[in-house]
Point group: C2
């Protein structure tokens, strides 16, 4: 890791716990292991460090999302078909992946916390937070569930309401267990309970059984 990358990495850690204002350039420099003045050879200001984080992490989030079952707007039929094979278990895999990614991925988790802290002081930051953790997720899942209804994997229902029913608890548990590092089993048990309830309600196979 270059010094320039290490600065971003350490700054993200500090911003995600102490906040932007609560973190000094010296804090970052200390964490990196250089003097604060040296840091200005890599970034021209503290704000440039923050902006770089937002830009890079936004891109990284989109890239990673595709990898775990959030493939953007295309291939919805294929994605739905893929999940169709797995029924209740597939639903659990999907939830667990999304949940553990946002909770534990070394970048996603810190980035989410940072945006959570900073969303109120700047409209642009808020838009980024809202897009990634609210709109994109719900939009994608609404489309996915709509397709899964069409393929008779799920019973007839309102896909938008389903998406909220599915994602909101993931979001809630993410926030609830965010700082409970020793209680991951408990978190996953709660998540599983939720997903099973969701399957009981909407999955056709479960219903027929």
């Amino acid at each position: 890791m270059t010094t320039k990358e290490k600065i971003i990495d350490e700054a993200l850690t500090l911003f995600s716990t102490k906040g932007y204002q609560g973190t000094s350039v010296k804090n970052i420099a200390d964490a990196v292991g250089i003097k604060d003045s040296s840091l200005y050879k890599h970034y021209k200001s503290k704000k440039e460090i923050f902006d770089t984080i937002v830009l890079e992490m936004s891109m990284r989030m989109e890239g990673m999302s595709r990898g775990l079952g959030l493939p953007g707007e295309e291939n919805m039929e294929k994605a739905a078909f893929g999940y169709g094979q797995l029924t209740a278990e597939g639903l659990w895999e999907l939830s667990k992946n999304i949940y553990l990614y946002y909770l534990r991925d070394e970048f996603a988790a810190r980035f989410r916390r940072m945006l959570t802290i900073e969303q109120f002081r700047d409209r642009e930051i808020y838009e980024v937070y809202r897009k990634i953790f609210m709109e994109d997720s719900i939009t994608y899942q609404t489309q996915l569930f709509g397709e899964m209804i069409r393929q008779s994997i799920f019973i007839e229902a309102n896909p938008a309401a389903m998406a909220v029913n599915f994602y909101a608890p993931v979001y809630f548990l993410l926030n609830k267990y965010d700082q409970e590092w020793g209680r991951e089993d408990e978190a996953l048990a709660e998540l599983k309970q939720h997903v099973e309830e969701f399957g009981r309600i909407y999955l056709k196979r479960d219903r027929d059984a």
Copy 2:
């Protein structure tokens, strides 16, 4: 409002947007209309202002919660019976009250935002946030729904899973529309869609109809 109260009020507004570190004592004093040095006649430090807010608001939140259908652990049977009378419509009233209270109440909304910002830097703050906006709500609703199942208002189901299904979307929408002041109708429409779905799934009367 006394100067001492006004300081708390303005500080809460500032802390809930710019954060504790992002707010200076001068910012608060300016908002109140006094010099920063005068402020120290009322509170001995900036931290004392913050701590006073947390203490007072925690108490106020508990008091207000009781007023809108979150009455603590006693009277659960009575509360459940009360909601039983109203069925689907009562469910909607309950949700709307909780939602609009947390979203719009002039103290609750600012306090929630402040805790959201500050939760990561201090374990104690996090505990307060978690208790009020996660544990208490879920605990109460789990008990309420359990009682409502016993009274045959709801179908047989897992009350804890129901509570997550019910409250998580409220929490999610609260965060989603927190800064969308012009889109309250949209927010309520989404909430209503969720509550109706919840009613369709769990309410006995809806099922039988």
